[in-house]
């Protein structure tokens, strides 16, 4: 401890309190922002890492809208699916009312006892035929898939429901928290308060279409073809075939019936980027802010340290003349910076937690993980030491002869 010469350094520091305080506050603010920015980035990264359940790398969707009076949607869907499924490179295809991450779909409330006065559990509804499971890359954990005879045509204003459904494991757990999810197969649940549906199967994972929804994992598959004027097809291709199959499907739909508009050809990977665009943008901006801020603070330290070296040239020369080694001078500035940084990061730790509490209350962000605070402290200590190293090096090279000159 003795050869760190903390005593003299502190006394020298006290002669320039304001300069030291400015750097300390700067470091504190920088740390506050960096720690909170990293916490927000972590939160967004976690959101974006959630899987939809689909084979995203090899899936895409496309819409077909018939617009003439005599356009027969039902015939068109049957023919389209038949043709798409026979295309080379296509593993499976399905017509559905909703697509994960697309932001539009249906939700219905399901309950385990009938009755309008009872609370239900909201779930996203995916209307699919017997190819739904394979197209969506779902794993059937229990029960069985729909058979072709289960699948019905659903008219635009039809309000009743098929008598069976496949639900996700998360949905089974939400409906029957006391039973194991495996027990849910064969149970009757109620939609629209009192219409019974039997759970015929349980699949591993399928996200609801709304990425910001609180019950994202709660989904239900019903065996039906929605006849809503617009038909949306989800198509899964063999690995690596996506780029070749996408234009083929579009061409196929356009050429087989001119009385329709074919649009929204989108790969699931593009869909993901689009759906999480604001989170991606936020992450980029926060990273930029962190980078620039650290640079500004580092440059500020360099500037102030340089001045402090210039001002103390004569004293440094005297110390050298009295026998201080170059490394003693270097050490002086490094230790000085370390002491200032310490005050800064301690203050920064308090401010970071304070700002986080405000953000959590105001914008319901998640609280910071505890380790971010020490990590931020260490980072800023290192930044300070790196920034001061240059000026300190120059101070160390000041020749002892300087002491003999007057100015």
């Amino acid at each position: 401890m003795n050869n760190l010469e903390i005593g003299p350094i502190l006394r020298a520091l006290m002669r320039n309190k304001v300069g030291a305080a400015l750097i300390a506050i700067q470091i504190a603010f920088t740390m506050t922002i960096i720690v909170n920015a990293i916490s927000i980035i972590q939160e967004r990264d976690r959101l974006m890492a959630r899987e939809s359940g689909l084979d995203e790398a090899n899936s895409f969707y496309i819409d077909s809208n018939g617009f003439t009076e005599d356009f027969n949607t039902q015939v068109s869907i049957t023919e389209d699916l038949d043709r798409i499924r026979r295309l080379p490179g296509v593993i499976s295809a399905v017509q559905t009312n909703a697509i994960p991450m697309s932001g539009s779909g249906w939700s219905m409330s399901l309950q385990i006892e009938p009755g309008a006065e009872l609370d239900g559990t909201d779930a996203a509804v995916y209307m699919v035929d017997e190819n739904g499971i394979e197209t969506m890359d779902l794993e059937l954990l229990a029960g069985e898939n729909f058979s072709p005879t289960d699948v019905r045509w659903r008219l635009p204003s039809q309000s009743d429901w098929p008598d069976k459904a496949i639900i996700t494991q998360a949905m089974a757990e939400a409906l029957f928290p006391d039973l194991g999810w495996q027990q849910a197969v064969g149970k009757t649940i109620y939609i629209q308060s009192d219409e019974p549906i039997i759970i015929s199967g349980i699949v591993d994972k399928l996200q609801a279409p709304w990425v910001g929804w609180s019950s994202l994992e709660l989904s239900v598959l019903t065996p039906e073809h929605p006849l809503f004027g617009s038909a949306r097809y989800l198509i899964r291709t063999e690995p690596g075939m996506l780029d070749r199959v996408m234009p083929n499907v579009e061409e196929l739909l356009v050429s087989t019936n001119p009385d329709r508009i074919v649009r929204n050809l989108t790969s699931m990977e593009d869909r993901r980027v689009e759906s999480y665009r604001e989170h991606g943008a936020m992450i980029t901006m926060l990273k930029l802010i962190m980078l620039v801020l650290t640079l500004v603070t580092a440059l500020g330290i360099v500037g102030l340290a340089s001045f402090s070296v210039n001002r103390r040239k004569k004293q440094i020369g005297i110390r050298r003349a009295l026998g201080a080694t170059q490394s003693a001078i270097l050490r002086h500035f490094m230790v000085e910076n370390f002491l200032i940084s310490t005050i800064g990061v301690l203050l920064g730790a308090a401010l970071a937690v304070g700002l986080n509490i405000v953000l959590v209350n105001q914008f319901s962000l998640t609280p910071i993980d505890w380790y971010l605070v020490p990590a931020g402290m260490i980072t800023l200590w290192i930044v300070g030491q790196l920034a001061v190293y240059g000026p300190a090096r120059r101070a160390a090279t000041i020749p002892p002869a300087t002491a003999t000159r007057t100015v």
Partner: protein, 437 residues
């Protein structure tokens, strides 16, 4: 004297170019970050129709489930049912009023060159156009009689008119929409309010629709419901008519009430209306009517994105760091000039002279930082546009007000930053500095 100080400032800046550049850059980065986030927040929270936003009111009544409130905070649903839309429009108790909703449909343009396309449709009543003062390029909205007679007329957005009719005056031309022949009565001029206040239920930054047609066609043409459809109980019976008569909400209602007493009268009307409906067995929840004006409604719907606000906070802290930086550097610079200051004091310059001289120097740095900061803000807004893709142009444009704000902010901030170092420099006793010479 001022020009002399300016000259001194330039000399001083030239003597320490790197240090000065560092200060200007620090201020510029702080100002740039702040201006970028201020602009986005300012546009999002700006009044989209300032001339009458306090006279336009959004109508909310509570038709929801007796067992569960529509919103956990107890506020009524954010939309109304078709039944209410029709009844409010039948009673016409406000100066102007329009129920509105969104829909979509295929447009089949005349001629073979333009292919049929899917269009976003807004269905409105005749008052919609004068009430929101929507600008027309050609023609106008439609008279009340069109709503009553359910005539097939359409108003096109400027973009749609460009796409279908090549930008010509298309009034009285016909256009096939949803398989029917519609007569064009008007073409809008550029119109993109931010936030799109008349309907924020599916996003406050969405584009206005491509076409506007009479609300009264909804039932006959079975116009598809777009936007959010929420039902607390399912329709009784099958078919489109049952859906319209259900308790499903998908419609918005706006009224123009020029005076406070008009507003009170409309509140009374709503009270009586809900009481009547209760007698008919609807509206099982307690009376919960609201009549927010435009800005109150924007506040309620939280149209300013959380992320924009978080970035605003962070950028102000960022500016604070940049200013601390500048204070430190100025301090170092001025103090290192002690000898020179001592000399000037000794030959007769007063403290005040020196104070002004140093403030001028600080001001020059501040203005430099402000101008560079504006450039950085422009870059920042360009970056935001790239990151977010499809967002309204007005959200990422620096207008004159913002530019003035930026310069004033930069100047004030740098002056404040310069105060302490300047004071320190001025309080140097001349004798102490001259001695060592």
């Amino acid at each position: 004297m001022f020009s002399y100080y300016l000259k001194l400032a330039t000399i001083s800046i030239r003597r320490n170019p790197i240090l000065t550049a560092l200060m200007i850059l620090a201020i510029a980065l702080g100002i740039g970050a702040c201006m970028t986030t201020i602009t986005v927040n300012y546009v999002m929270s700006s009044d989209p129709i300032p001339q009458k936003s306090d006279q336009l009111h959004y109508v909310q009544v509570d038709n929801w489930d007796p067992n569960n409130p529509a919103n956990s905070d107890g506020s009524p649903p954010d939309q109304i049912t078709y039944t209410e839309a029709i009844n409010f429009m039948r009673d016409k108790k406000a100066f102007r009023q329009s129920a509105i909703a969104s829909s979509s449909g295929v447009v089949n343009p005349p001629g073979a060159e333009t292919k049929p396309f899917m269009s976003q449709i807004r269905i409105v009543y005749s008052d919609f156009f004068p009430m929101f003062e929507i600008p027309f390029l050609y023609g106008s909205g439609w008279p009340d009689s069109v709503d009553e007679n359910k005539e097939l007329v359409v108003v096109l957005s400027r973009q749609t008119n460009d796409q279908v009719f090549g930008g010509e005056d298309s009034v009285d031309r016909t256009l096939e929409i949803l398989g029917r022949e519609f007569r064009v009565v008007g073409v809008l001029d550029d119109y993109f309010p931010v936030p799109r206040f008349y309907d924020v239920t599916v996003g406050a930054l969405n584009k206005p629709e491509d076409l506007y047609m009479p609300f009264s066609l909804k039932e006959e043409l079975e116009l598809s419901p777009n936007g959010n459809v929420n039902c607390w109980k399912s329709p009784e019976g099958e078919g489109f008519k049952a859906f319209l008569q259900s308790e499903c909400i998908n419609y918005q209602m706006w009224v123009e009430l020029p005076t406070e007493s008009d507003k009170r009268e409309y509140e009374d009307y709503l009270y009586n209306y809900v009481t009547e409906q209760k007698a008919l067995g609807r509206f099982p929840r307690p009376m919960n009517n609201r009549l927010p004006n435009v800005m109150e409604w924007m506040e309620d719907q939280q149209v300013v994105e959380d992320d924009a606000q978080i970035l605003l906070w962070l950028s102000f802290m960022f500016l604070a760091v940049c200013l601390l930086n500048t204070i430190g550097l100025l301090l170092a610079k001025f103090v290192s000039r002690s000898a020179e200051i001592g000399l000037r004091r000794a030959v007769g310059a007063s403290k005040q002279d020196l104070f002004i001289q140093h403030l001028v120097e600080t001001g020059v740095i501040g203005i430099g930082g402000g101008v560079l900061g504006l450039l950085i803000a422009l870059l920042g807004l360009e970056g935001i546009k790239m990151l977010y893709g499809d967002i309204p142009e007005s959200l990422v444009q620096l207008d004159l007000t913002m530019m003035v704000v930026a310069l004033v902010l930069a100047l004030t901030a740098s002056m404040l930053a310069g105060l302490y170092p300047t004071w320190r420099a001025c309080s140097i006793a001349p004798a102490s500095q001259l001695k060592s010479q």
